[in-house]
């Protein structure tokens, strides 16, 4: 909702004459423009002493408004888009891939929720290393708890339990250079980074980015959520919408981790509350402590797979 003065900078046709004409009809911003009867406005414009400029101005504003919208799509176009662009990325763990019928899907926001030490960060690191090892593209990792461990990623990439003695050769270097990590410590910085990322991806510079991991989103939102105000919920919803937009537009897999809090009767429930539940496309619950024997992962929500299915997995 921009006032008309700001549009003059980029579109000189919207000069002060045009603005005065609009003001005489009570139009100060582009929203007012939309709410006005456009045919009546054009009729007034034709009666003016300089009709051409005014009509151009009206057309210009209409095109600015339309360019901000998304185009209408029909089902066939959506199916084509999903078959061509929205491919599945493996998580690196076979059992999780079998459970999810392929793995993480581009265009989906996947949430990993589980109690402390259930293996959420391990799954994220494994998925990132898998993308890097098979040179599928870049991975951006937003880390809120300093838990991104390059040593662990090197272990995954070189199959060795002790990376300091292995020869860190050129392939490991190339693989690890495609994982980019940034530490984020508050929700406002995260929103800025996401907007910056969205703009960079939109401007067609070829980045070949395939995956975005935020570990963990709940620790950024917990300090602002609750307390009688709705501002925390608004920020959470904004972050969720930005993630979905980036995932859909740039065909990325977005992985987000969430922790658990105490619910009724001593049972644990996912943090971030009821309003967050509808935001991610896929929700996976990791239960129990991460151990070498395997941890249970269960589908809580999925667009086309049955929820409640679970399996055991181990991150080697």
């Amino acid at each position: 909702m921009a006032p008309l003065e700001d549009l003059e900078r980029d579109y000189p046709i919207i000069d002060s004459n045009f603005r005065m004409f609009c003001a005489s009809h009570g139009i100060f911003t582009d929203t007012d423009f939309l709410m006005h009867d456009l045919s009546a406005l054009e009729a007034f414009a034709r009666q003016d002493y300089a009709p051409q400029k005014l009509e151009h101005g009206i057309k210009q504003i209409l095109s600015i408004i339309e360019s901000g919208q998304r185009p209408w799509l029909n089902g066939l176009e959506l199916l084509e888009d999903s078959q061509l662009n929205k491919c599945t990325l493996s998580t690196g763990c076979e059992s999780i891939d079998i459970l999810l019928q392929g793995g993480l899907r581009a265009g989906h926001v996947t949430e990993l929720v589980g109690p402390s030490c259930s293996g959420k960060t391990q799954v994220c690191l494994k998925a990132a290393s898998h993308v890097a090892r098979n040179s599928l593209g870049k991975v951006v990792y937003f880390d809120t708890g300093n838990s991104f461990s390059p040593k662990r990623v090197a272990q995954f990439l070189s199959f060795s339990p002790d990376p300091s003695t292995t020869q860190l050769n050129k392939t490991v270097e190339r693989d690890m250079s495609s994982i980019v990590c940034h530490s984020v410590f508050d929700i406002f910085t995260l929103l800025d980074m996401l907007r910056q990322l969205r703009n960079n991806l939109r401007s067609q510079i070829s980045f070949q980015m395939r995956m975005l991991i935020i570990d963990s989103l709940s620790s950024l939102i917990a300090p602002v959520l609750g307390g009688g105000g709705v501002h925390g919920h608004a920020l959470m919803a904004t972050a969720g919408l930005l993630l979905k937009e980036i995932a859909h537009e740039s065909n990325l897999c977005v992985v987000v981790t969430n922790h658990m809090v105490a619910g009724e009767a001593g049972m644990l429930k996912p943090a971030l509350g009821e309003s967050w539940k509808s935001i991610p496309h896929v929700r996976l619950l990791l239960s129990g402590k991460y151990s070498a024997n395997g941890t249970r992962i269960k589908i809580l929500k999925h667009p086309y797979l049955a929820s409640g299915k679970s399996t055991d997995f181990v991150v080697i």
Binding site: C117, T144, N146, P150, A222, G227, G229, G266
Partner: protein, 349 residues
């Protein structure tokens, strides 16, 4: 772009929206005096708001020629090299150092919890002394910040541990560096005390204030090189008499994020000492760390200290890169050391 995503105080945000400024573009060409008049706030506050808004709207413009996907990010390869070249703070107990792969790492928040009397404060004091070991002896040569909430910091004990540390360094010097150049400046035990900055907090508001102040303190003392911040204990003021649990969760998660930021920004280690509580799990009471499930995610690493028969043990509960392992240790007059068990038979590990 919305005004609601600006990091300003809620009252200012409310005033902005009720005065009709709901998007950033409406703030772009406004003078501070006009804004101050509209919102009925002081001109300084108006200048602050406009500064934040201009920073945010400036970031929206695509930087042509910038090749980075995300500004300020590092690749995993660079981080690996940084990690390999960074030193850890030794705990003076070689078994413990082994399971920690070197000791307490910088840029990470480590939480250490255990029953009363297990040696948490002793470990904290040992780390505050060990961080000052000079680089020539394999240490970090840094200073320590000790935030005491319980009043369990005993200066006489610190002196005792510092003397033992100085003695150890002297021994190391004579044993291994006979052939090399002249003996380096040996540290006096009192100089160890000089390098520990001590804060005593008595309420939770003071605790939050100290952590907020730490950022300013650390940037002022940047040349001084504080390498460890020890908080003993992080939970004390949040356990009793806290009526509003939602507020407690918000304060604790905010505090955790600030400590993470300090660890990353100033390249230091943050050590948080925690107490234990009883939790009713699956029909029986179990000992878990205090402050509940939401705090469990606040630390990068977690070490639990417990009694195993007559011996003290440390167990790695949570770590992104270390496997779960446990090791014994003792608390002696000289500080934390390896445990020499009295058993004559060889123990099968």
């Amino acid at each position: 772009m919305d005004v609601s995503s600006l990091p300003i105080s809620p009252s200012h945000r409310g005033k902005l929206i009720s005065a009709g400024y709901s998007s950033l573009s409406s703030l772009s060409s406004l003078s501070p005096s006009r804004l101050a008049l509209d919102l009925k706030i002081s001109e300084n506050e108006a200048v602050e708001i406009l500064k934040v808004a201009s920073v945010r709207s400036g970031q929206d413009k695509i930087e042509s020629g910038s090749r980075a996907l995300v500004n300020g990010a590092q690749t995993a390869w660079d981080m690996l090299h940084e990690e390999e070249s960074s030193k850890c703070i030794t705990t003076s107990c070689s078994n413990l150092d082994e399971i920690l792969s070197g000791g307490i790492h910088c840029k990470e928040v480590t939480e250490i919890g255990g029953v009363p009397g297990i040696g948490k404060t002793q470990l904290g004091i040992q780390l505050a002394v060990n961080v000052q070991i000079p680089a020539e002896y394999g240490g970090l040569g840094g200073k320590a910040v000790y935030i005491d909430t319980e009043g369990s910091f005993m200066v006489e004990r610190v002196l005792q541990i510092a003397e033992a540390c100085a003695q150890d360094m002297l021994e190391y010097n004579t044993l291994l560096r006979r052939d090399s150049q002249a003996c380096l400046v040996d540290k006096q035990p009192k100089s160890f005390l000089d390098n520990i900055f001590y804060f005593r907090v008595c309420t939770y508001t003071e605790q939050i204030a100290v952590i907020n102040y730490l950022e300013k303190f650390l940037s002022e003392h940047k040349d001084v090189g504080v390498k460890v911040v020890i908080v003993d204990s992080i939970t004390f003021h949040f356990r009793q008499d806290f009526e509003d649990m939602a507020l407690r969760t918000r304060l604790l998660s905010g505090m955790a994020l600030k400590l993470m930021k300090l660890a990353k920004k100033f390249n230091l280690a943050v050590v948080l000492l925690n107490q234990v509580t009883n939790k009713f799990v699956e029909g029986s009471f179990q000992l878990t760390l205090a402050l509940g499930d939401s705090w469990a995610h606040a630390a990068t690493n977690r070490i639990i200290l417990y009694w195993n028969g007559n011996e003290r043990h440390a167990f790695i509960d949570k770590s992104p890169s270390l496997p779960s392992a446990s090791s014994p240790y003792t608390v002696t007059g000289r500080g934390i050391r390896n445990s020499t068990s009295n058993c004559k038979r060889v123990k099968l590990m």
